[in-house]
């Protein structure tokens, strides 16, 4: 018993651990909420694209001594707009355009970082650095998180309707174009926030996995949101502890816990889990159709 208590309490004596836990809990709330929309809208690839595309923005912002969030936001939204534009003007399919645009931006970021002499550590951008997060980065993350949370909470019903049935949304006079780009802007901002904890490479997990996990557990949107946030927070906290005690990559641990939670639900979810489905139709699962 006391061993467990020590295991939990000892890290909290380090200030950097407390900060890391608080920041990543906040970020998890934002990403957990947003990931419900990403999952339902099928925007995982878009999330991946945006999170990679913010890289040059972050580098430029650091070089110019601007808040990194500003640069990241400009490039995040810029990439989304560019994807939309190219898709509209050509006959190239969307996933191809997404792959094309985000790698281009990412390559630009890599080139810049190797050329612009600065004190940015590439690995911190790629893999996150939540244990060494600076005060100004915390401030930015908090501002971004509160902004995204406010927008998503106020517009949650409209965004839900937009994801479910955009035609009806339009027919009652909602501006679906505005909702579309608003959701993508929130995605850019959440990616920037998530980047602080797990870095560019793994931030898409923050934007997808909690929502997907929750989607296996319920058929109600409200519950899905809470479950998603819960799983995101649990993953972050458990992942940070794990990485502390094992001295392993924080981003790796956080995302690994998320993935394990998903696998657990995939197996055991009451209605949509593998076991429940087998129980319902043992024949169908023995002869899976193609």
């Amino acid at each position: 018993m006391t061993a467990v208590l020590t295991w939990l309490v000892e890290p909290l004596q380090q200030e950097f651990m407390v900060r890391a836990l608080l920041v990543s809990t906040l970020v998890s709330c934002v990403c957990g909420l947003l990931s419900c929309y990403m999952t339902l809208k099928g925007w995982a690839l878009m999330g991946d694209a945006v999170s990679h595309a913010v890289m040059p923005g972050v580098v430029i912002a650091y070089a110019l001594n601007l808040p990194f969030a500003v640069g990241a936001f400009v490039f995040g939204v810029g990439s989304v707009a560019l994807i939309g534009y190219i898709k509209q003007m050509t006959r190239i399919k969307e996933d191809t355009v997404i792959g094309l645009v985000f790698t281009g931006f990412f390559a630009l970021g890599l080139t810049l970082i190797s050329k612009v002499r600065s004190n940015i550590d590439l690995s911190h951008i790629l893999f996150g650095n939540v244990l060494g997060i600076s005060s100004s980065d915390i401030l930015q993350t908090v501002v971004i998180s509160l902004l995204v949370l406010t927008v998503l909470v106020v517009l949650r019903k409209d965004l839900l309707l937009f994801c479910f049935d955009p035609t009806h949304a339009r027919s009652i006079g909602l501006h679906t174009g505005v909702l579309h780009y608003l959701l993508l802007s929130m995605l850019s901002l959440a990616a920037v926030a998530g980047l602080q904890t797990v870095g560019i490479i793994l931030v898409v997990a923050m934007l997808v996995t909690p929502g997907a996990t929750a989607y296996l557990l319920t058929d109600r949107f409200d519950r899905m949101v809470w479950l998603s946030i819960l799983s995101a927070v649990i993953s972050s906290v458990a992942g940070i502890y794990w990485s502390y005690w094992m001295d392993a990559s924080t981003a790796g641990c956080i995302v690994l816990v998320q993935t394990l939670l998903f696998l657990l639900c995939f197996l055991l979810a009451p209605r949509h889990g593998l076991l429940a489905q087998r129980r319902r139709s043992p024949r169908a699962s023995r002869f899976p159709s193609a």
Binding site: V154, K157, L160, D165, H168, S171, I172, Y215, F221
Partner: protein, 265 residues
């Protein structure tokens, strides 16, 4: 002005004048004009590709006309939409049936325009939803996830949403497609009730038996409005041959209804 019952000022509900719609230069609707009054059920009859869905989309403002004007309840389309005057039930619902919403929530979406920004249902919204679900006989299934309904029940759920919206004009694109006979009867009964309430319904179909049984007016279209008016006077075999003989029509230009080119306003 939020109103559950269609407001009855003025009698003209839909007014389309010389409407042309093109898709990338290809004409889908040419010089169509029609006017519908309150309390009318109008059938929109034409072959596949005749432009029925396009006409509906133009009436919703989803496609931009290349010429002509449309007014609903005497208002331009964006105003009519914001007043939630038009309900639209598309030919195929493009929704994700696995979406985590139940029937009650879907019907409540019809009320969104009338609610405050946070879309928190008020008692009147709940009443409207209950009434709508009762009328389509789905109240007992209100807690079902939307995808767990049968095809006919899904149609009824979307009809209930249109009803909850309180629209005075309803555009129903091929509502009887893939619907069993019992649901079809229920729907026709509902449509007749809607007419009594003063609503205007436009229903596209290619099943001619429906038209004579409950529609007051018919619009026959093949790119353009070939004929329109009271069912009895429009539904002649001559007109029907014109409507469904599209190939012959295009082959000989003299057979086309004179398009009277572009009287744009």
């Amino acid at each position: 002005m939020p109103s559950r019952q269609p407001h009855l000022c003025g009698n003209e509900r839909i007014s389309v004048r010389h409407l042309c719609v093109e898709y990338h230069g290809v004409v889908a609707v040419h010089d169509a004009s029609l006017h519908l009054n309150a309390g009318t059920i109008c059938a929109l009859v034409g072959m596949n590709g005749a432009g029925k869905s396009t006409l509906f989309k133009a009436l919703m403002g989803f496609v931009r006309p290349s010429a002509g004007t449309i007014a609903v309840n005497g208002l331009p389309l964006d105003q009519a939409r914001r007043a939630r005057a038009v309900a639209y039930v598309p030919q195929t619902e493009s929704v994700d049936w696995n979406f985590p919403v139940n029937v009650h929530e879907v019907v409540m979406m019809g009320r969104y325009g009338a609610m405050n920004l946070l879309r928190i249902p008020r008692p009147v919204d709940r009443e409207a939803v209950k009434e709508a679900l009762d009328r389509v006989e789905l109240w007992h299934l209100r807690d079902r996830q939307i995808g767990a309904l049968s095809g006919g029940q899904r149609k009824r759920a979307f009809l209930a949403r249109a009803l909850a919206q309180g629209a005075s004009v309803m555009l129903l694109d091929e509502p009887f497609n893939g619907v069993d006979i019992r649901t079809e009867k229920l729907m026709i009964e509902l449509f007749e009730q809607f007419r009594r309430e003063g609503r205007t319904l436009m229903i596209s179909t290619h099943d001619l038996s429906h038209v004579t049984s409950f529609c007051d007016q018919v619009v026959l279209i093949n790119k353009t409005v070939l004929a329109y008016g009271e069912t009895s006077s429009v539904f002649t075999s001559e007109n029907l041959a014109l409507t469904f003989g599209g190939l012959r029509l295009e082959a000989s230009p003299t057979a086309t209804i004179d398009p009277d080119p572009r009287q744009a306003p």
